[in-house]
C-alpha cells in the first residue's frame, strides 16, 4: 500500500532537488517523528537557518521512535534528490548501511541528538553531563539526609537512558559507570529502579511500585519530564509529595512549567533548535567549501531549577521558558 506513495514522493523530491541543485545547497533533515515538540523545534531551527543562509531544506521523519525503515527510505530519497548533506536523529543502528551508501556518493551525514557509528559529525546534548548536573543538584538539595533514590529509567539497552542514569549517579557522588557504558549502575542508595518508556502513565506505575518497595524514597531521578509528572502524581496520591526531590532531563515547555510549579525540582535543558541550526550551517559550509564537519560538538545543557541551591549553578524558570519547546 505504501509503494505508490513512496514512488510519488521520490519523484517529487527528485523534481524539487534538480530544480534547485544548481544554485542552492540542498540539505536534508530526518527526525525520529514529525509530531514530538522536540523535533518540531528542531525543524523550526533548521528552516530558519536554511532561509538565512539561502539553502534548500528537505524534511522527512519516521512514524515513531524506532521506525528505522522510514528513515532509510528518506535517506535514499534525499540522496536521489541531490542532497549533499543529511542531518539525522537516528532511530536505531539499522540506518548505518544506508548512511554508508550515501557517504560513498559524497554526501555528508551528520548525527543530531542521537549518536551512531560512522556519522561524519555529531551535534548533540552531552547526556552524561545532563545527568551529572541534576545529580549534583539533587545531592545539594537533599543535604545531609541519607539518600534513598528511585531511578525511573527509559527502557533497557538505550544509550541515552544509560548516559543520563549513570551521569546522575556520578553527579550525586555515587559509584557509576562512565559515559561510554550501556549498563545501568546501581548502589545501596538506589533503592529502586523501574522502566517508564518516557511515558507519564508508566512513570506513575513505576513510582507507585517503587514506593511499595521503599516507602521512604527521598530522591527521584527520571529519564524525562512526562515520567517525572507521573512520578509526582504517584507521590501526591501517597501523600508523600513534600520533601521528595524529583529531577529530570529535557527542558520542554511543559516540563519547565512543572519546575515552576514545584512538581520537578530541577531539569537539565537541551537545545534541539541549536543542533539543527548548526547542522544546516555545516551543510552550507560543505556545499560551498567542500569541507566536512567532524567530531562531536556539545550543543550545551543548562540546569533549570525552581529554587537555586548554594554551590550549584542554575538558571531560573524564566530563562528556561524562553528557550523551551512546545506550547508555552
Amino acid at each position: 500500500m505504501k509503494r505508490p506513495a513512496l514512488v510519488a514522493t521520490t519523484a517529487l523530491l527528485a523534481l524539487l532537488g534538480t530544480a534547485h541543485a544548481a544554485d542552492q545547497p540542498v540539505i536534508g533533515l530526518i527526525t525520529k517523528t514529525e509530531t514530538n515538540p522536540f523535533f518540531v523545534k528542531m525543524k523550526e531551527g533548521a528552516q530558519a537557518e536554511a532561509k538565512k543562509l539561502g539553502a534548500k531544506l528537505m524534511t522527512a521523519s519516521g512514524k515513531k521512535d524506532g521506525d528505522t525503515a522510514a528513515q532509510i527510505t528518506a535517506i535514499e530519497n534525499m540522496v536521489t534528490a541531490g542532497a549533499k548533506t543529511i542531518l539525522i536523529t537516528s532511530s536505531g543502528d539499522a540506518i548505518i548501511p544506508a548512511v554508508k551508501k550515501a557517504q560513498a556518493k559524497g554526501v555528508q551525514v551528520i548525527a543530531l541528538d542521537s549518536p551512531f557509528d560512522g556519522a561524519d559529525a555529531l551535534f548533540a546534548t552531552d547526556n552524561y553531563k545532563a545527568g551529572v548536573l541534576i545529580g549534583q543538584y539533587a545531592k545539594a538539595a537533599l543535604g545531609n539526609k541519607p539518600a534513598r533514590i528511585a531511578m525511573l529509567d527509559l527502557f533497557p539497552g538505550h544509550p541515552v537512558g544509560a548516559q543520563r542514569h549513570n551521569g546522575f549517579m556520578a553527579g550525586f557522588g555515587l559509584k557509576a559507570n562512565d559515559a561510554k557504558s550501556n549498563e545501568l549502575s546501581s548502589t545501596a542508595e538506589t533503592v529502586c529502579a523501574a522502566d517508564t518508556d518516557g511515558n507519564q502513565a508508566k512513570g506513575q506505575t513505576a513510582m507507585e511500585n517503587c514506593l511499595q518497595k521503599a516507602p521512604d524514597i527521598n530522591v527521584v531521578y527520571t529519564i524525562n519530564e512526562p515520567a517525572a509528572a507521573g512520578a509526582f502524581n504517584a507521590l501526591k496520591k501517597a501523600g508523600k509529595d513534600k520533601g521528595v526531590v524529583i529531577v529530570s532531563v529535557d527542558g520542554g515547555c511543559a516540563g519547565v512549567a512543572d519546575v515552576g510549579k514545584g512538581v520537578i525540582a530541577a531539569t537539565s535543558q537541551q537545545y534541539p533548535l541549536k543542533m539543527a541550526a548548526m547542522g544546516v550551517a555545516a551543510g552550507v559550509d560543505y556545499a560551498k567549501g567542500g569541507k566536512k564537519a567532524s567530531g562531536y560538538v556539545d550543543t550545551g545543557v543548562t540546569l533549570i531549577a525552581g529554587q537555586a541551591v548554594a554551590g550549584i549553578d542554575s538558571q531560573s524558570v524564566k530563562v528556561g521558558t524562553d528557550l523551551c519547546w512546545g506550547k508555552k
Binding site: V40, A201, N209, K213, P226, A229, N233, K237
Partner: protein
C-alpha cells in the same frame, strides 16, 4: 438445567490464568517483604484498571473470532478528546466525557461496519483504524499532553477506605463492568449469541440469528468500553496523554489470551481476562519489588502467552 459438576467446572484453559495468578503471588509473597498487603493489591488493581476495561471490549471481539488492534489507540484518542473538550473548550465535564466516549464508539461502529458490510478481515480493518486513530490523536493534540484537567473528570481516580485499604472508585467501576458483562454473556440470549457467532457463524445464521447484527453490536460495544477506559486513564494520570495506549494495545490482547479466551472464537470467560490483566500487573509489581530488570517481565509474559495459547489448542484437540 441438569448439568453435572464436571460440566460446570471450567476447562483448564480457563482455569489457567487463576492458577498463574496464584503461583506468581505465592512466589512474590515468599521472596519480597511488601508484596502481600492490602495496599499493594489495591495498587495493582489501580494499575491494571485501564488495560482491564480495554480487555473487556477485546474479549467480546475475540469471542467472535475477531481481533482488535486499534483498542489502545482508540483509548488514547478518547482521552485526548475528552480532556481537550473540557480544558480547551471549557465544556461541562459530562459533555466532554460523552464526546470522548462518543468518538471511541463511532470508531467501534466503523470497525464493525467494515467487518460486517464489506466483509473485511478484522485484523486488517483494525490495523487501519489503529493508524488512523494514532494520527488523529497526534494531530489533534499537537503531540502535547493536555493538563489542568478539572477535578470532577478525575474523580474515578480518587480512593475510599475499606478495611484500612485505599481502593480507587475506578477499580470498583472495572469490577462492576466485569460482573455485568459476565452475567450478560452467560445468562442472556443475546450474550450466548456472541459465543454462537464465534463458534460457527454459518450455523448460527441458519438458525435465524442475525450474525451481522450481533457482530456489529459487539464492535460498537467494544468502542464504548474503550471510551470508558479513556476516562479511567484520565482519572488515573490526571492528564490526556497523546502517547498513551501504545503498550495498552498489546497488553489488552495479552490479558485476553492469558485469560484463556480462544483466539479461534467461541470459547472463554470475560472474568479470565480480568485475571489475565492482573497477572501482567502482578508480574510488573512483583519484579520491581524484587529489583529484577523489566526485561524479565517481558520474557515471562511472552512465555505465559505461548503457554496459554498452547493449552487452548491442545484442549481443543481433546474435544474432537
Amino acid at each position: 438445567m441438569n448439568t453435572s459438576l464436571k460440566d460446570k467446572l471450567p476447562p483448564l484453559s480457563q482455569l489457567g490464568p487463576f492458577i498463574a495468578l496464584a503461583v506468581a503471588s505465592l512466589i512474590f509473597g515468599l521472596s519480597t517483604e511488601n508484596f502481600f498487603s492490602g495496599a499493594n493489591f489495591a495498587l495493582i488493581l489501580q494499575q491494571v484498571m485501564v488495560v482491564g476495561v480495554i480487555a473487556i471490549g477485546q474479549t467480546l471481539i475475540i469471542l467472535t473470532a475477531g481481533i482488535d488492534l486499534s483498542c489502545g489507540m482508540l483509548m488514547a484518542l478518547g482521552s485526548i478528546v475528552m480532556t481537550r473538550f473540557a480544558v480547551d473548550y471549557g465544556l461541562p465535564v459530562p459533555v466532554a466525557i460523552a464526546a470522548g466516549v462518543g468518538v471511541t464508539t463511532l470508531f467501534g461502529l466503523l470497525n464493525g461496519l467494515l467487518v460486517t458490510r464489506i466483509k473485511l478481515p478484522p485484523f486488517i480493518v483494525t490495523l487501519g483504524t489503529m493508524n488512523v486513530a494514532f494520527a488523529i490523536t497526534q494531530l489533534y493534540s499537537d503531540a502535547q499532553t493536555v493538563s489542568n484537567v478539572p477535578d470532577s473528570m478525575t474523580w474515578l481516580g480518587n480512593t475510599f477506605t475499606l478495611g484500612g485499604t485505599q481502593i480507587a472508585f475506578g477499580v470498583v467501576m472495572m469490577g462492576v463492568l466485569y460482573l455485568g458483562v459476565d452475567y450478560w454473556l452467560r445468562d442472556t440470549a443475546s450474550g450466548r449469541h456472541v459465543y454462537a457467532v464465534g463458534n460457527h457463524p454459518e450455523a448460527t445464521r441458519l438458525v435465524g440469528i442475525p450474525t451481522d447484527r450481533v457482530l456489529l453490536g459487539v464492535y460498537v460495544l467494544a468502542g464504548v468500553f474503550y471510551g470508558l477506559a479513556s476516562l479511567l486513564s484520565v482519572a488515573r494520570t490526571g492528564v490526556g496523554d497523546p502517547n498513551g495506549g501504545q503498550t495498552e494495545n498489546l497488553d489488552a490482547i495479552t490479558a485476553v489470551v492469558l485469560g484463556g479466551t480462544s483466539l479461534f472464537g467461541g470459547r472463554g470467560l470475560v472474568l479470565g481476562s480480568l485475571a489475565g490483566a492482573i497477572v501482567v500487573g502482578v508480574l510488573r509489581n512483583g519484579l520491581t519489588l524484587m529489583g529484577v530488570s523489566s526485561v524479565y517481565q517481558v520474557l515471562i509474559t511472552g512465555i505465559l502467552v505461548i503457554l496459554a495459547v498452547a493449552v487452548d489448542q491442545l484442549s481443543r484437540k481433546g474435544d474432537r
